[in-house]
């Protein structure tokens, strides 16, 4: 369950980053590098939950080298590898290359070597080279957007293609996953931006924040509409599973689906953001409102993943009744492990922020 949540954050953060480059949205430029690093930090941790489930860490690299064209699960290795190496790392390298060279010249021993190595000992900072970097980033981003869609659409695809499970098997699943990924990714980058910027003692760029919030607003609306569409479609189809799904929603998933996901995670934040738009609110108050909204949205998306993954296993496959999920606390797939996995990307991000400070731009 942690895994779809993490990959969702990756795809969302990357799609936000690509807005700057492909669609030239100048307002959100302050979060461009931050969102790329966020995507990388979460992407590095994303396969860990799978690893813990499968065991055999010494053979894990086989996932990336062993093709199996008929298995959707096995495609993960390729989708992941392509996205990590072909898109994200390459884009980061081109984006930071010139800065890395300049920094390494100014710095003292350990960091200068780290930065020089990370720039692959590149030395060319001429205008032509920098222009080539920009061009490359543009191309990579254009390839990157469908790749990000692929990465998270793929997770939805795996659930959506389980025909035997009526709670999962839906063509809309990849799209719903994708939209909720975008929602959670934008909310995460907003959260990080709102926490990190004051920590460095700098003012928050309200233009940027307002723009992010408006993207978030539209994404939540689309996400909500898609999920509502899926729900109405199921109701109208009224397949034989509808009774058990109705019981499921009314009993076991009442709290996590109706209360947390829909009310706290969607309706309330949308209400907050509509209120912010209707009444001219001061910047300080706006920050507070946005912050509340993004925490709620993050909670809601987590509940979404819970409802899909756990919910799909809570009813008997013959539709006779509901089963029970008992969460382990310790154990390799227990609560503590899940919490550690959720905290790890922030640790990785901390290191990445030290090595690639997104706010430090080398002088020309």
């Amino acid at each position: 369950m942690v895994y779809p949540y993490l990959t969702g954050l990756v795809a969302g953060a990357f799609i936000l980053a690509s807005l700057v480059k492909v669609f030239n949205v100048e307002e959100v430029r302050p979060t461009y590098r931050l969102s790329l690093l966020t995507a990388l930090a979460f992407l590095l941790i994303a396969p860990l939950p799978l690893q813990l489930h499968l065991g055999h860490p010494l053979r894990s690299y086989e996932i990336f080298l062993t093709p199996n064209p008929t298995s959707a699960m096995a495609m993960f290795g390729f989708v992941y590898l392509w996205y990590l190496m072909g898109v994200l790392v390459l884009e980061l390298w081109f984006e930071y290359r010139r800065d890395l060279i300049v920094w390494s010249r100014e710095e003292r021993f350990p960091m200068s070597l780290v930065h020089r190595a990370l720039s692959l000992f590149s030395t060319d900072t001429s205008d032509a080279a920098v222009a080539f970097d920009r061009k490359a980033i543009q191309v990579i981003t254009v390839i990157g957007i469908p790749s990000a869609f692929l990465l998270h659409g793929y997770v939805g695809f795996i659930f959506g293609s389980v025909k035997a499970n009526p709670w999962w098997g839906s063509v809309l699943m990849p799209i719903v996953f994708l939209m909720s990924a975008i929602v959670s990714g934008i909310a995460l980058v907003m959260f990080l931006y709102m926490v990190l910027t004051p920590l460095r003692g700098e003012p928050i760029d309200m233009r940027c924040l307002d723009k992010l919030a408006s993207y978030l607003f539209y994404a939540v609306i689309v996400d909500f509409s898609l999920e509502a569409l899926d729900f109405i479609h199921r109701l109208y189809q009224s397949e034989e599973s509808i009774h058990i799904l109705g019981t499921l929603i009314a009993s076991k998933l009442f709290m996590s689906l109706l209360v947390i996901q829909i009310f706290l995670g969607m309706l309330l934040p949308v209400g907050i953001m509509i209120a912010v738009r209707l009444f001219s609110v001061t910047a300080e108050l706006r920050k507070l409102f946005y912050f509340t909204a993004i925490i709620l949205i993050q909670l809601g998306i987590f509940a979404t993943r819970w409802n899909v993954v756990i919910g799909g296993q809570l009813f008997s496959k013959s539709f006779r009744g509901l089963t029970t999920y008992k969460m382990e606390v310790v154990g390799i797939e227990g609560l503590i492990t899940a919490l550690v996995l959720l905290a790890l990307p922030f640790g990785v991000l901390l290191v990445l922020l030290k090595v690639f400070p997104p706010w430090r731009r080398a002088a020309a």
């Binding site: 692959l120 060319d124 970097d133």
Partner: protein
């Protein structure tokens, strides 16, 4: 056209990665990645584990009487140790102690508590209303778990009473404990009726404070609701709730 510096450097990285992949593919001897190498120790590990179960056939060597009964009953598919727990010690040395025997009420509902995903026809109960507080083995012999039956001659007409009584605390009482039925009741059920207890002393045989039966609830028959017969307040086929 001049190839940009970046492309050259990335090409080197790509080359290194490719070379590493090919090296791991072709230079590492197949015997090292052979699954048998991984699994050789796991088979040994399993074998060296302590044996705890005696196995279904071992028990019948000594307990043939029980096995004869069990193998025709509804529990014929269960092995003895399903309920009695791992018993290899007892099998090797019967004097070392008896295997576990579940006598508590909470044990049987692990399989027989109502759960909609259990197969149709599988005997299921709701423990809070099925003979509350009594251990299952009071009425059911686990080696031949058929519940006490009301005689067909009574239940053919009085099926509702049969079903009510089967879940009540009086489940183990036979119909004839309280009713005596003339033979002609079967020919003329409306004009020749069975008897009903007509004195308070009848119930008091079990329920009076001085009565010898231990598991029945006790009242002082001399003072408790003195103007009425017992069954005017207590329904004998489903007496009292837990």
């Amino acid at each position: 056209m001049k190839v940009p510096e970046q492309i050259k450097r990335l090409a080197v990285v790509l080359f290194v990665i490719l070379a590493a992949v090919l090296l791991t593919r072709y230079l590492i001897p197949a015997s090292v990645v052979d699954p048998r190498v991984y699994r050789a120790s796991s088979a040994q590990r399993e074998v060296s584990k302590e044996i705890k179960f005696a196995g279904a056939t071992t028990c019948s060597d000594c307990h043939d009487d029980i096995n004869t009964k069990k193998k025709v009953g509804f529990h014929k598919g269960l092995s003895c140790e399903t309920c009695h727990g791992p018993s290899v010690k007892h099998a090797e040395d019967p004097s070392s102690g008896k295997p576990f025997a579940p006598r508590e009420r909470k044990f049987c509902p692990q399989c027989h508590e109502y759960n909609p995903s259990r197969p149709t026809g599988f005997p299921q109960i709701i423990p809070t209303i099925h003979n509350p507080l009594k251990p299952c083995i009071t009425c059911h012999n686990p080696h031949d778990p058929v519940p006490p039956q009301v005689p067909r001659e009574c239940s053919a007409c009085h099926a509702q009473i049969e079903r009510t009584k089967a879940l009540s605390r009086h489940a183990l009482l036979e119909c004839t404990t309280c009713h005596s039925t003339p033979t002609r009741h079967k020919q003329l059920p409306r004009s020749v009726k069975p008897t009903k207890p007509e004195s308070r002393e009848f119930c008091a045989k079990c329920h009076d404070t001085g009565a010898s039966r231990k598991d029945a609830p006790k009242v002082d028959a001399a003072t408790h609701g003195s103007r009425f017969l017992c069954w005017e307040c207590h329904y004998p086929h489903m007496p009292g709730e837990a």
